[in-house]
């Protein structure tokens, strides 16, 4: 919970313009990474799946980041890895938001029985020991990109659900909602017409934050060998670096550091955007 309270403290201190500037910095990082992902085939000097040189080469003019343990070009791996990391991050966040928004809407709109049951379930999900559960689930379901996405998605929806529920709780007692209901509007119509659109903005902030978290989790899973080790993601590059001893040799400089920095940059980019967005849209108390 430290990061949330940190955001809270910063909110009063940092002028809006600085938050905006950080937001734009984040947007710049994300745009750069998206560009890299889209144009990966153009940017990458080699096919990352092809063995193009001797294994364990140090960086040279031909291979700017050297080669990995079977002679694949590490720079190309890094560039193509952007695709996997961003895809997993974004799709897993979408999964989380769909679940989180649905649960949040229902729990907020029917706060009595259904709502409290749902929220207790959310509490349970929130207090589950996170990484161990993630590891168990990933190991149980097997290794594939889809499973990685699903596992991350179904574990990070609880926080967005709480945020959305609190907004819905406040919305449902607004006068226009009450008016609409007193005129006989059905619940479904009220939710779709009056509530959902007003939560969408709040959901955007949660979404960007979830992307940031999902990218880190994908890297963590792949690093532990629980992702698909044949997929070229940043985490799997680190997995191979670790299993072939690069952490103990000078190779860490070109094999471990670049994907590590890339993971950091991607996560930071989305986190900065989320910070700026939340700064604008979060209801002030």
């Amino acid at each position: 919970m430290t990061s949330r309270s940190l955001t809270g403290t910063l909110r009063g201190v940092i002028p809006r313009s600085l938050a905006d500037r950080l937001g734009w910095l984040g947007a710049g990082i994300v745009a750069f990474l998206l560009g890299t992902a889209v144009f990966a085939p153009v940017l990458a000097p080699f096919d990352p799946a092809e063995r193009v040189a001797r294994p364990f080469l140090a960086p040279s003019a031909d291979h700017l980041l050297g080669t990995n343990d079977v002679g694949q070009d590490l720079l190309s791996e890094l560039i193509y890895g952007t695709r996997v990391s961003l895809t997993v991050g974004i799709v897993a966040a979408v999964v989380a938001m769909v679940i989180g928004t649905t649960v949040g809407l229902i729990a907020g709109y029917y706060p009595k029985r259904l709502g409290s049951v749902l929220m207790r379930f959310v509490d349970v999900v929130l207090i589950l020991p996170f990484l161990p559960l993630l590891i168990v689930l990933a190991a149980y379901l097997g290794r594939s990109l889809t499973n990685t996405i699903v596992v991350i998605g179904v574990l990070i929806w609880a926080a967005p659900a709480r945020i959305i529920r609190s907004q819905v709780l406040s919305l449902r007692s607004r006068e226009y909602v009450l008016a609409s209901r007193s005129m006989g509007a059905k619940d479904r119509w009220v939710i779709m017409r009056h509530i959902l659109p007003r939560t969408a903005l709040l959901a955007t902030g949660s979404f960007v934050r979830a992307v940031s978290g999902a990218i880190l989790l994908e890297a963590a899973l792949s690093f532990l060998g629980l992702g698909d080790p044949i997929q070229k993601s940043w985490g799997s590059t680190l997995f191979w670096a670790q299993s072939r001893g690069a952490f103990l040799t000078p190779a860490w400089k070109w094999w471990v550091l670049p994907p590590g920095l890339a993971i950091m940059a991607a996560s930071l980019g989305f986190a900065l955007i989320a910070f700026a967005v939340e700064e604008r849209i979060n209801p002030k108390l």
């Binding site: 343990d69 890297a219 080790p229 299993s243 952490f247 000078p250």
Partner: protein, 570 residues
């Protein structure tokens, strides 16, 4: 947010590891950052600072500090944990009737001579005179008889298995023991006589429940060159030399075995000089790096483990020998050895037997031949009819899932390479990396081949004992599950069955050699599995402290032989 802070901590830890490790490599004098390692080393240094050994008063006593990953409990025949290096450490304290020489062949040790009868059912063993246990009691034929009975009666997993087929053990009360087997067993020396530690009757006869029994310094007694004098759970073992050892006092006065939590700790510790030898195989990419560091040396040799491809021979298209031959021809074994093992492996023989074995048949050889592989598949009617680069059989594409276990990263890389190689001949292989339990369950359900097979292709490997004992090839290829109980591919061929059956009971050495020579040709031709490589063992040691390490083929350096004077070795 919970998830973000957790993940951030993970990233932080990862980067810290990277920083920590970098300092290891750039500055070899830095001390280990790994907490378990540091405490363990500290603990043992305290003890070694007060040496009690007086074996070589004229010279500086030699203390060797060795690293293992994972504890081995109290290291007695019932409690040691792993087959390697647990059994090897156990055998520093105990002796067996025979001992492996450098070629991996059993030689008489506690036994002065081992004489089988003509049909290999009756073994007459004469003990060396004057061997004593470390407490001064003599080691007699009664102890040997007691050991055999005890391990069978108290079901000591591995040693009871070694003794299957033993009908009776009799002694003449002096120095001769006669063991009767219920069937001929050409491998009895290898699997039993060189494997079983002889335990003292005067102590173990009072032990009813060996798995629970707590041995102390008085009762923890063997006849071996070392005595375990100190043990700290999951931290360290301290062995002292037995100066009265029957083959002469060991060349090392004290052996401290430090338990590390993972593989990377020992690598950092040997560089910084905190340990002198690693009692675990080092991975191929470390060989050159460690060998280049002074005064660390690396010793390499054959290990008899295998890396291979299995396929379900009972189902199409692998029931067609042409497909299996094509796969064998399409893989470039040398490329796998060079790329994955960086040369630290031996190219797989298609006939199963390791080239370092005496019975290896050099007539079988494996060269990649894509043209021949393509021609074989074309002739057999597997053609690419829809032009997508993948051949078809019965209208379906030749696309197969190859299972591999995620815990073995080298095997995963091998699978990727095989997939690449088979694509060249129009066979698509999708590598699926799964949990070890899932992989075993698919390839070898319930560890009983009667349960069938649930895979198409699988990257597989056997442990060293199966290769080390050449006649066990019969267990891999015989069509009858009671004989071929390791026949995971469902292969069956009457000619192979006949040769395999003959091999298991053949008492005549020349006839046995002839049979295994022919069997290799048949296996290479019928391809019940595709053998890719035999990874070599490599061990790193500090040559300034001790350099007497002897590589025993199929066993490595962890044995009492390494710690004895060269003239005392078998």
């Amino acid at each position: 947010m919970r998830l973000r802070s957790r993940a951030a901590i993970l990233l932080l830890v990862m980067s810290l590891i990277a920083v920590a490790c970098s300092s290891e490599t750039t500055d070899t004098t830095a001390s280990g950052d790994e907490p378990t390692a540091t405490t363990a080393v500290d603990g043992s240094t305290d003890e070694t600072s007060a040496p009690e050994t007086t074996a070589a008063p004229s010279e500086e006593p030699i203390t060797v500090r060795a690293a293992v990953t994972g504890g081995e409990d109290t290291l007695n025949p019932y409690t040691y944990v792993s087959g390697f290096p647990g059994w090897n450490l156990l055998m520093l304290q105990y002796d067996s009737l025979m001992q492996f020489d450098a070629a991996g062949e059993p030689q008489p040790w506690l036994a002065e001579s081992v004489e089988p009868n003509d049909d290999l059912t009756e073994w007459t063993i004469t003990l060396v005179d004057g061997v004593t246990f470390n407490d001064g009691e003599p080691l007699t034929v009664d102890d040997v008889e007691f050991t055999f009975d005890y391990f069978v009666e108290k079901a000591a997993g591995r040693f009871a298995r070694d003794l299957r087929g033993v009908e009776s053990v009799t002694t003449d009360g002096d120095r001769t023991i006669t063991v009767n087997l219920d069937a001929p067993n050409p491998a009895f020396e290898l699997v039993a006589l060189a494997d079983i530690p002889i335990i003292p009757q005067h102590i173990w006869s009072e032990v009813d429940n060996p798995e629970e029994y707590q041995f102390d310094s008085v009762t923890n007694v063997g006849s071996g060159p070392f005595v375990l004098v100190d043990y700290v759970e999951d931290q360290s073992y301290r062995f002292e030399a037995n100066p009265d050892y029957f083959r002469g006092a060991p060349t090392v006065d004290e052996l401290v075995v430090v338990v590390f939590a993972d593989d990377s700790g020992p690598l950092a510790a040997i560089r910084s000089g905190e340990i002198d030898v690693i009692f675990e195989r080092i991975s191929p990419e470390q060989i050159e790096l460690l060998d280049a560091a002074d005064p660390i040396d690396v010793v390499q040799g054959p290990e008899f483990t295998t890396q291979m491809i299995n396929f379900d021979v009972s189902k199409a298209p692998f029931d067609d020998v042409a497909v299996r031959q094509a796969i064998s021809l399409a893989v470039d074994r040398q490329d796998i050895v060079d790329t994955v093992f960086l040369g630290a492996a031996t190219v797989g023989s298609p006939g199963w037997v390791h080239p370092d074995k005496a019975v290896y048949n050099p007539a079988v050889a494996a060269d990649q031949d894509l043209e021949a592989a393509n021609a074989l598949l074309d002739e057999a009617g597997y053609t690419d009819t829809d032009g997508d680069g993948i051949r078809e059989f019965d209208g379906a594409p030749m696309s197969f899932e190859m299972l591999t276990n995620s815990s073995d990263s080298l095997r995963l890389r091998i699978s990727e390479l095989v997939s690449e190689m088979l694509a060249e001949v129009g066979i698509q292989v999708n590598v699926a990396s799964v949990e070890t339990a899932t992989w075993e369950e698919a390839v070898w359900p319930g560890f009983d081949i009667a349960n069938g097979r649930n895979y198409q292709m699988a990257a597989w490997g056997w442990s060293a004992p199966i290769q080390a004992n050449t006649i066990r090839v019969a267990e891999l290829v015989h069509g009858d599950p009671s004989i071929g109980f390791l026949n995971l591919t469902g292969f069956s061929n009457p000619e192979v069955d006949a040769l395999a059956a003959q091999l298991l009971t053949e008492a005549d050495e020349a006839a046995a050699a002839q049979a295994i020579g022919e069997l290799q040709v048949l296996i290479a031709d019928l391809v019940p599995f595709v053998l890719l490589a035999y990874p070599d063992g490599a061990y790193a040691y500090n040559s300034a402290t001790y350099d007497g390490w002897e590589f025993i083929a199929g066993q490595g350096i962890v044995s009492k032989v390494s710690l004895l004077d060269p003239s005392a070795r078998p």
